[in-house]
Symmetry: C2
Subunit: 164 residues, 2 copies
């Protein structure tokens, strides 16, 4: 399938009033090239996902559920860098489900909101707690964060919010 | 699971008397690094396979059946090089199943026999039609053949048989 998404920084914690309980995610990459190959533990399930850029903001995505034990083996022995850890919260707003990623570990402090769209130009009402858009900023790509985690950016999130 | 296999050249066509009807395989790589990520069409089925070297001749292998249509999309749009094409024949011999790959396309002329083992030092009776072992010769790795297909080796198979 094609994945079309937009990605934003988060301007306030107001999203928490609308969020679900959150699901822990641990993921890593078997290939950081093009395409990327990602293994992800999400709650009690595991997935293998292939993504390749088709055009800006639009990606081929193939996702397969795999046994949790095999994902754990891949995360502990095969991935190219330490895994990314985050909690994902789902927040409904004006007909879309927003995914809020609160990063931990080497990316602690980083927060990203994503929304999936049916087409690149689909109109989406931005929640009032949304910050600047970073859809095309490679620093915020998860594959990039494995190379250059947020801890090494040398800037705190509040300062970054004003600069992006 | 762990994959332990040995790989050989083929000295004669005598294996054909014992072989099945053969299954066409078309495969390509989403990652040629370590681990490799392979997509394969095999007959009417499709698989995504991750392999990583654990020690010489021993590899981690994770294989997942995927929808044929998705494999076809990956093979036509996402793989890093032109696909490898071959016919695979299964040949029972002395308690093992040998897999004979007869390559086509850019690797036409190349023939490889493989046998999977339970352990690296498992005794295996070599069929009389088997040639020299090439288990640790990277030229015969399928991932390598996508970079350097047999057509460009500048040697025919009969000559190579004497040299390896």
């Amino acid at each position: 399938m094609l994945e079309i998404e937009r990605k934003f920084m988060i301007a306030s914690d107001a999203w928490k009033d609308l969020a679900d309980a959150g699901t822990p995610i641990r993921q890593g990459y078997l290939s950081l090239g093009e395409p990327t190959v990602r293994v992800r533990l999400k709650g009690t399930k595991a997935y293998l996902t292939i993504k390749a850029t088709k055009s800006p903001g639009v990606r081929h995505e193939f996702e397969y559920q795999i046994p949790v034990g095999e994902a754990e083996t891949m995360l502990s022995t095969l991935i190219l860098r330490p895994p990314i850890e985050k909690i994902r919260y789902c927040v409904p707003f004006a007909g879309h489900i927003w995914e809020i990623d609160i990063f931990e570990g080497a990316n602690k402090g980083l927060q990203i909101a994503e929304v999936e769209l049916q087409s690149r130009d689909e109109r989406v009402d931005l929640p009032y707690w949304i910050g600047p858009e970073v859809s095309d900023d490679p620093r915020f790509f998860n594959a990039y964060l494995t190379h250059r985690p947020f801890a090494g950016w040398g800037v705190d999130y509040a300062t970054l919010l004003k600069r992006v």
